[in-house]
């Protein structure tokens, strides 16, 4: 009896969850598709976003992502390698860096928005611009990316390091040809997590990259990200729901496409490296 009630409960839970999630997903896909056309991707918005398309907004979104990744990826990978391969485990500096990273990984994105506004926009004088928005995003994704890569590198078996040493490899060569390729899954995971967070972000961008929906002329122009566009259409523009759903569909598709791209890019890059080595 108890067994039957228990499995019933579990089934009901699963069913509820599937139903609710499918409801959201189908709404986004159906309503988005109803308002979507290929022209939507290539037109500028008109009438506060009710009509026209999202071309300048897509361009701003991609610029923001590009800036964030260009800054965060090399820095993050460097810090991860240093933490796992070079820093001694009882070094004060390494420990405090680790703790700070953990704290910052959990800080709400709106707080990054506050920081970005105070530091990049006002203190460094970048104003409301793609550059200050992108740099704020970089700060936001850095802790998560470092931590996932570091964990990935640490889980590579020490036998590989000993083997590399025995072959007379320098540590740099070992890292480049053996440890990084071996930690590939973690690096991909970190990359996907970072892309997802940066593309989906709204709160951190409101006060750093701004609302302007024109095509950005330079990196010091203000630009509106796709997520901010959805927020603005839903909250401040009556009758903008159709365009908002279409933008939401584009945003979700964009994230999925970028993730697939990141996965295959990292895969092919490391495959070549292993063949050369």
């Amino acid at each position: 009896m108890a067994e039957r009630i228990f499995s019933w409960l579990i089934m009901v839970c699963a069913l509820l969850v599937v139903a609710a999630l499918l409801w959201v997903l189908s709404d986004v896909v159906l309503q988005g598709a109803a308002h979507f056309s290929w022209q939507f991707l290539f037109d500028a918005p008109t009438d506060a976003g009710r009509g026209g398309g999202i071309a300048p907004i897509l361009v701003s979104t991609l610029w923001l992502l590009l800036i964030a990744l260009t800054v965060a990826l090399p820095l993050g990978l460097g810090v991860a390698i240093w933490l796992s391969e070079f820093a001694s485990s009882n070094s004060r500096f390494a420990n405090s860096t680790g703790i700070t990273l953990d704290i910052l990984a959990g800080v709400p994105s709106i707080v990054y928005g506050l920081f970005g506004n105070a530091f990049f926009s006002i203190y460094l004088g970048l104003g409301f611009s793609l550059l200050s928005g992108g740099l704020t995003l970089a700060c936001m994704i850095l802790p998560v990316f470092v931590r996932t890569c570091e964990v990935g590198l640490r889980t590579v078996s020490n036998d590989w390091r000993r083997g590399a040493l025995a072959l007379g490899m320098t540590r740099s060569t070992a890292i480049w040809h053996i440890l990084l390729p071996a930690a590939r899954p973690a690096i991909v995971a970190g990359l996907i997590l970072s892309i997802g967070r940066a593309t989906a972000e709204t709160a951190a961008l409101l006060f750093t990259s701004g609302y302007v929906d024109r095509m950005p002329g330079s990196l010091l122009d203000s630009g509106r990200a796709l997520a901010v566009h959805i927020y603005d259409l839903a909250m401040n523009v009556t009758g903008g729901d159709g365009a908002a759903y279409a933008s939401a569909l584009v945003l979700v598709t964009l994230i999925i496409v970028l993730n697939t791209l990141a996965q295959s890019l990292v895969d092919s890059w490391f495959k070549r490296r292993l063949v050369l080595a």
């Binding site: 460097g78 040493l165 540590r171 945003l251």
Partner: protein
């Protein structure tokens, strides 16, 4: 163990380079915290002597233009929304994880997992949009005004459900197989196996996933802002509109000046501290569990 073996130029150069990169990053992280402190400092400095800075935590009235900075209603609303969402999402997520792990056929499990993964990647603003255009009208037709504590709780629940279900499922999957064999040999029923063997063994993984989701719910800004109604008042009923701390920052940052702006930074610090406490707690849970496994 390999730290004392640098004996060539290339490695020394790389070590030096990475040390610079790491120091720069450390500096950046320090700057973030210092800037938050620095920007909220005027607020505390002006109110330190007469003790009114504590009003931030227990004051009931939020009239920043008349220098009344009471955030208690918003702090309470933030907590109510977060607790509500976790209380709803925990049983549902855990139930789905158990279904995924023990009841579903492999093909079902695969598509369920795919659905959860897709939804875990959906931006929060999309959940907000859905809540605003679907959920709020639904609640309005039942109990106006619609934009309310309940709407915020439901949207957040949907948002954190995939995370809780996926982390719990992977925690359950990493329970050693010997425990399954042992419990079967004892002739335990399926439900006793799950309730008394698997859930306790996966406890630390599940609770760290839940704490992660809690931090996410607490820090979520726009999804909540879009559906919660944003009236500054104590959360007295499920159908009352409320304003949470994060939404307050997003709404007022655009025009805040002077002490008002500083008080928003102070609330940002407060949020950071809450999240910090949560992650410290998560650390403790995981470590205590590891020790129990070692010595138990």
């Amino acid at each position: 163990m390999f730290n004392n073996s640098i004996n060539n130029q290339a490695d020394r150069r790389l070590n030096f380079l990475l040390l610079i990169v790491a120091s720069a990053t450390g500096l950046l992280l320090a700057i973030i915290i210092l800037f938050l402190l620095n920007e909220s400092w005027p607020f505390f400095a002006n109110r330190w002597r007469d003790g009114t800075w504590l009003q931030l935590f227990y004051g009931q009235s939020w009239y920043p233009l008349e220098s009344q900075f009471g955030m208690a209603p918003m702090i309470l609303s933030s907590l109510a929304v977060t607790v509500g969402a976790v209380v709803l999402a925990l049983p549902l997520g855990l139930g789905s994880a158990i279904y995924l792990q023990f009841y579903a056929s492999p093909r079902w499990a695969q598509s369920f997992r795919l659905l959860l993964n897709v939804l875990a990647g959906i931006p929060s603003v999309v959940f907000g949009l859905w809540g605003l255009t679907r959920l709020v009208p639904l609640i309005t037709s039942w109990q106006p005004p619609g934009a309310s504590l309940l709407a915020a709780i439901l949207v957040l629940t949907l948002m954190i459900l995939p995370t809780i279900a996926l982390t719990s499922a992977s925690a359950l999957a990493s329970v050693p197989r010997e425990l399954l064999a042992g419990s079967m040999a004892l002739g335990l029923r399926r439900n006793s196996q799950i309730l008394h063997i698997f859930l306790p063994a996966a406890r630390s993984g599940i609770s760290s996933g839940v704490l992660l989701a809690t931090a996410r719910a607490l820090g979520e800004t726009l999804a909540v802002l879009m559906v919660a109604g944003n009236v500054v008042q104590n959360p007295s009923g499920l159908f009352e509109p409320v304003r949470v701390l994060t939404a307050n920052i997003a709404l007022e940052m655009a025009y805040a000046m002077g002490d008002h702006r500083a008080s928003l930074f102070a609330s940002g610090l407060l949020l950071t501290m809450l999240v910090w406490l949560l992650s410290w707690f998560a650390h403790r849970v995981v470590r205590a569990h590891k020790q129990a496994l070692q010595y138990g």
